[in-house]
Point group: C2
Chain length 443, copies 2
């Protein structure tokens, strides 16, 4: 079912290398919608540029026009009415309400443990330090595509709330026939006390949050996953507005030894695969017989037809098992790949932790299911993909605060530093800096 | 000299509003170089796109070709030889060496006080937490333009070193006739133990650090200021490589009351102005007589011819004094502007600190000269410009670490959460997630 390679085979390397992100060729229905909206064929990047310009100039009217043409749905109101949020929560199945409350409490507790406090050190008759304050307003984007990602509402909004963000709004595309975002998303927003919810999606939602429209005041930062259009809009608006990152297709590397359960490993690879045909489920194992047993499990799953078409497609095109000499080699390959999720389904996972260098999140032990992390463990499930774990982090409280450096040296200390500072200003040829310093130093 | 407005006059608002960043029209010599390099007239964005593609494909050869055509200088070696670094340090004036060492020690001490530690909480027979690790490799860009920004080497490299970054490299454009970066920059690199220094600048340096060439291995993250081409390259490569931000022209808002010294306020505005004709020096004051006295000082400065042409041009075009009802109004206007630097040149600055909402750095008291902050106070002088202080931070240790979330719940705890997690997976329609969870929960 999934191919099995030894780590030194060239095909193993191919699976562990990401194809460069090429300008995607758009599906035909999307192409047609773009022609309807703009009167000509456009590639995704150019379309997003046009959408941004139109929303910036046209405000609400542009949002409505683009939503109708691109999402095929005209929302009755751009902003969802408060009553609709409450109704969505009330109408939700009690078990789902309880599950959401439990998840929210755990996510809130985890994030409240992250340190992000202002500090001052007193020295030289004064102080230096960092004011650490919440970002004032944040927009959360929640995709509306394959699944109503209720968990994404929790995993993005709660860290922002813990950080102390004052104004939180949420955009998600309207669904037919209601013209509102999915009910479960509205319910989650209500539970969290997020009252500002807009029935708008895609690049137009990102542009609206960045520039503001009549109905939707601009925000300081935008977070959350999305489709190609959302990601291109975030990239094009980076710098104009704060951006958490550019999440791409999800990825899981499972490292397993001969103690791992083939059924559990197979279930984890299948779970990863059902997100997206472009998701990447990889198994690195020291046990050839485990790899073969996992394949049997996957074949059986496919046989029963219980896997979605997307999952089956992903497993066929994107998944592989790679046989490693030992766990250290497996970890070295995983570190090089820098996956979003790294699952250590081995007998004794703790001794491996110090060797994990690049991953969005690491899951210790086969009972510690990655899917539990998606919903309820505590840390945000928004994690760096595409190898960006080398330099970026899961969404956390740090994403929702900002630093202001405090310069408050005492007069004596400031004077005593003047001569060295003036020397450096002279070295840089900045005479007015030098003069401003020397005037203080009594020079 | 600089215009004086009341806060309710429309012109005051104009100075407190940033013009949207339009595609800049390039100076003629730059246009000519681009034609020489690419055989046709290109705007900056398209030129940067071409430069990136050429470096990605062509490696060292492309770097050398572009450096010669765009910087007008062919470096003998792309990588500066270790002996040249040491020689630069040895040949530096002893006073400059001492000043650099003092500044480095202070910057290092300040940054070592910032918290960025891994943490685990033990609960439910297991643990959750965050591994916080240094980014492995970082490239620092140091501009070569108007001034040899020695201080920028210190203000970018030291926070990275404090964070524990293993590999640090530095790019700065070659100067004529040596074909190397400015000697003072080489000396600073040597002092800090940064051994990997490259004689390459502009968009081509950013592309080289992002993709790697034969001589210059790729890095995980790029930090530092630069000209339009550098900033556009950082924007275009955001996501491919880590980026600290897109710093634009520098900005200072001085809030002053009737206790402020006109000479010091004028000196600070002039220091701000000498960076760049597009820098923004603004005075918000409760005292009309202070504003007039500041103007007299500036006129005198201009009269003596001691100000550079850039500073004079900036003061004439970009500076203004705005008269405020009281300090609270001044702070409200400053918060709305969200300046890079906010100087509180008032009798009693500490009580104002709790009302500072958006600024890269705040300077308390007129003795606490912003220029001291540029060189020696301790916090990095790389701070958010262009209003991005609303959502971003000065360069700090946080920019050089990354988080990996640790999911290590105990088996019992993981099992007990399964039912709620499975409910959420079902709500999202993700059946394979549900199955992976229920297999653990024994369901």
């Amino acid at each position: 079912m999934i191919p099995i390679f030894r780590s030194n085979e060239p095909q193993a390397k191919r699976y562990l290398t990401r194809a460069p992100i090429e300008p995607a060729s758009l599906p035909d229905p999307v192409k047609e919608r773009l022609i309807r909206a703009f009167g000509q064929a456009l590639d995704a990047e150019e379309a997003v540029h046009r959408i941004i310009e139109e929303v910036k100039r046209g405000g609400d009217a542009a949002l409505l026009r683009l939503t109708e043409l691109l999402d095929g749905c005209r929302p009755a109101h751009l902003r969802v009415e408060p009553a609709a949020l409450e109704a969505a929560w009330r109408e939700l199945d009690p078990a789902a309400r309880q599950a959401m409350e439990l998840a929210a409490a755990r996510i809130r507790r985890f994030h409240s443990r992250q340190q992000a406090h202002s500090w001052l050190v007193w020295e030289g008759g004064g102080a230096l330090g960092q004011l650490i304050q919440p970002i004032e307003s944040v927009g959360v984007y929640v995709p509306g595509g394959r699944a109503p990602l209720v968990s994404t509402v929790l995993m993005t909004a709660i860290p922002a709330q813990v950080a102390g963000v004052k104004r939180l709004c949420l955009c998600s595309p309207p669904q037919r026939p209601t013209g509102q975002p999915h009910t479960a998303i509205l319910a989650a927003a209500h539970m969290l006390g997020v009252q500002e919810v807009y029935a708008v999606g895609g690049a137009q939602a990102i542009a609206a949050m960045a520039f503001g429209t009549q109905s939707l005041p601009r925000v300081d930062k935008i977070v959350g996953p999305g489709n190609l259009f959302v990601i291109l809009a975030k990239k094009q608006l980076y710098g104009q507005v704060g951006i958490d990152g550019l999440p791409g297709p999800t990825e899981t590397v499972v490292i397993a030894d001969d103690a791992a359960s083939p059924a559990l490993v197979a279930a984890d690879l299948a779970a990863q695969a059902e997100h997206d045909p472009l998701a990447k489920p990889l198994l690195l194992t020291t046990s050839e017989s485990l790899a073969q047993a996992v394949n049997k499990e996957l074949e059986q799953e496919l046989g029963t037809g219980s896997l979605s078409a997307a999952a089956a497609e992903c497993l066929q095109r994107q998944a592989a098992a790679i046989l490693c000499q030992d766990l250290q080699e497996a970890l070295a390959l995983a570190n090089e790949f820098a996956p979003e999720h790294l699952c250590l389904s081995v007998r004794d996972p703790w001794p491996l932790l110090p060797f994990v260098r690049h991953a969005g999140g690491v899951f210790l032990g086969e009972h510690m299911c990655e899917s539990l992390g998606d919903y309820i463990a505590g840390p945000s499930h928004v994690m760096p993909t595409g190898g960006t774990a080398r330099f970026s982090s899961p969404l956390s409280v740090w994403d929702f605060v900002k630093i202001c450096s405090v310069f408050a040296l005492g007069p004596e200390e400031a004077r005593s530093l003047g001569s060295a500072a003036a020397t450096l200003a002279a070295l840089e040829g900045l005479q007015a800096h030098r003069r401003a310093i020397l005037l203080r130093a009594g020079g």
